[in-house]
């Protein structure tokens, strides 16, 4: 029996291991930061029009050759696209992490409670429903609007339902079931709309559901950035609660905390982040579920004080990289972002997981 109450002092050098760990984590943060800068520039460089890297850099710092076309392409198209990718990567990966911790489920993603289904429903009603009801020419005040508003309205509606249910349901599992069911209802209505809608509207909807970072201009990126920033701050304010949730709800109660309140705060952050991202870019899959796992594997740390920033940075990197690849460097086409994520990302994740020492 080795239990002891002896007052032997722990030698200081026993703490060498955490020191090394923190050091390695510091290096990783630095590396990820540099990678984001590099990938951001690379993302600005990639696109159908060929602009040299040098030209990209000098135009960015405002000392360009004065080529109006280049400036136009960079500031009207590529900069908003790259910024949107950056924000979406940060937002979705933070959502995924919080959902995985809240439900203690490694398969949870930002959309597990049906938020993307809500957005899809909003867009579906907007794009397909109008044509299905015979409104082939949209009212003039609607033609200028994009899919952003309906997507946001749908996400907002579903979030409101989830929050309402959350205040009535006792445990997280019931909430999970409610969310998944709600998502299925949304999908069913979307299917119905697809069935009855015209080919053109259907195609528009399918294109939206493939996800895109190209639909935003700089002022819209500003709105997205503001919303994302609010969501990120809210997420970071959940750090303590998320750590407590590692130990279960009973433990949380024993600390004098209310699991319902903790849950509501997490849901609010996730709704703002996932809702606004989906509204501006469509439902982007894969990142939300995979990035938290990549961050955990890279940092070997489940404490959210380190894991949240790690996930955020990794998410930015992954999303920028995916967008670079989506531009198909050297060709004139682009492929949908969701396709890139699935085709290239998932094998990488599977490889990392299979190679995990156990």
């Amino acid at each position: 029996m080795t239990h002891s109450n002896t007052n032997f002092k722990l030698p200081r050098n026993q703490n060498e291991r955490p020191g090394r760990r923190r050091h390695a984590q510091g290096l990783l943060y630095g590396f990820l930061g540099l990678a984001i800068v590099g990938l951001f520039v690379l993302d600005l460089y990639s696109g159908t029009a060929s602009i040299s890297l040098k030209e990209v850099l000098v135009t960015l710092v405002g000392k360009g050759s004065g080529n109006a076309l280049f400036e136009n392409i960079l500031f009207q198209f590529r900069l908003p696209r790259a910024l949107t990718a950056l924000l979406a990567g940060a937002a979705l990966s933070l959502c995924g992490l919080q959902m995985q911790t809240l439900f203690r489920n490694p398969l949870a993603d930002p959309y597990i409670l049906g938020i993307s289904s809500g957005s899809g429903l909003g867009v579906g009603v907007f794009l397909m429903g109008l044509s299905a009801w015979g409104l082939h020419s949209l009212p003039s005040w609607l033609t200028g609007a994009t899919t952003i508003l309906p997507a946001w309205a749908g996400a907002f509606l579903f979030t409101a339902l989830i929050l309402w249910a959350s205040s009535r349901l006792k445990d997280n599992l019931s909430l999970l079931i409610f969310g998944v069911m709600l998502g299925s209802v949304g999908s069913a209505v979307i299917s119905l709309l697809q069935y009855v809608s015209q080919a053109e509207a259907l195609k528009n909807y399918v294109l939206w559901s493939m996800g895109s970072f190209s639909g935003t201009d700089l002022s819209q990126v500003g709105i997205l950035a503001g919303l994302t920033l609010v969501g990120i701050v809210l997420s970071f304010s959940n750090t303590k609660n998320l750590n407590v949730l590692h130990l279960g709800e009973q433990y949380a109660i024993s600390l004098g905390l209310s699991p319902k309140k903790m849950r509501r705060r997490i849901l609010l952050a996730v709704a703002i982040l996932a809702g606004s991202t989906t509204a501006f870019c469509g439902p982007i899959g894969f990142v939300g579920i995979a990035v938290p796992h990549i961050a955990r594997i890279l940092f070997r740390d489940a404490d959210h004080r380190r894991l949240l920033p790690a996930t955020l940075l990794t998410g930015c990197c992954v999303m920028l990289l995916a967008d670079c690849i989506a531009q198909l460097p050297g060709s004139s086409g682009i492929i949908p972002i969701n396709t890139v994520c699935a085709l290239l990302g998932i094998p990488v994740i599977l490889m990392i997981i299979l190679k995990q020492p156990e």
């Binding site: 029996m1 080795t2 239990h3 002891s4 109450n5 007052n7 032997f8 722990l10 026993q14 703490n15 291991r17 955490p18 760990r21 203690r104 970071f236 304010s237 750090t239 303590k240 750590n243 407590v244 590692h246 130990l247 279960g248 009973q250 433990y251 109660i253 024993s254 600390l255 004098g256 905390l257 955990r296 940092f299 070997r300 740390d301 489940a302 404490d303 959210h304 004080r305």
Partner: protein, 243 residues
């Protein structure tokens, strides 16, 4: 065993004619156990013993404010109780020191960072449960006995003077059952804490406890030290269980 009955000290827990159970509907209720009268003093280790389904966990949950009794009153400072659930989930790559930092929830900044005073408290708690040097071990890689001691350390870090544990020895081998009960005894005696734990392990409980609360088939017994209701225990566990 600490044999003198403390007469000058006031009890830290008083159970006064408690009735445990739950409400089924508006006028319906299911009573689990009635007429619970008991006391516990600072510096005492109390073992709560009783067959499955008698309401041990319900009583413990009432003690720490997680539930309320149907009737009766209990006097203790519920803000001064640390509760260790029977099962705490584990997470990979979650270090012992990070787990214990969550116990300082109300004394940490908005991100959960703790000061040097709290770090010292964590080191002391680990020393008290015999896990010095385990600060940066991964909680998922600890043995069941070690992890149970970490959850106990979390209760110590919280700093409450009453600690309530729900079956802390349930999943442990016999050696670890002894280690944990002895550890609880030492903590109660040395730090004048009141520690209440439920258990089915009579041998370690009888060996180390100062007081036994027995939820027997014919009533609640609160006995201290050598007056341990052995005959009742015997009846309860060998006769009523089988007949």
């Amino acid at each position: 065993m600490n044999l003198q009955t403390p007469s000058t000290v006031s009890p830290s827990i008083v159970l006064n004619d408690l009735c445990l159970g739950f409400r089924l509907g508006r006028n319906q209720e299911k009573i689990l156990f009635e007429q619970i009268n008991g006391k516990a003093y600072p510096g005492e280790l109390v073992a709560l013993i009783g067959a499955n389904g008698r309401g041990k966990s319900t009583l413990l949950r009432c003690l720490c404010g997680l539930g309320a009794p149907l009737r009766g009153s209990l006097s203790l400072d519920q803000n001064d109780v640390a509760y260790v659930p029977s099962h705490t989930p584990r997470t990979r790559h979650f270090a012992v020191v990070d787990l214990l930092a969550t116990a300082c929830y109300h004394r940490s900044d908005w991100l959960g960072n703790i000061g040097t005073a709290e770090e010292e408290k964590i080191r002391q708690a680990l020393e008290q449960v015999g896990l010095s040097g385990f600060e940066y071990r991964d909680t998922a890689e600890l043995s069941d006995g070690e992890f149970q001691r970490v959850t106990l350390a979390a209760a110590l870090v919280k700093g409450s003077s009453i600690i309530v544990l729900d079956e802390p020895t349930a999943f442990l081998d016999i050696a670890n059952k002894m280690v944990i009960t002895e550890l609880l005894k030492n903590l109660a005696h040395q730090q004048q804490k009141t520690i209440v734990f439920s258990t089915h392990d009579l041998q370690p409980a009888l060996k180390s406890c100062d007081r036994i609360w027995l939820m027997g088939y014919d009533g609640f017994y609160d006995k201290r030290g050598p007056e341990a209701p052995l005959d009742k225990l015997f009846q309860d566990f060998s006769i009523s269980t089988f007949f």
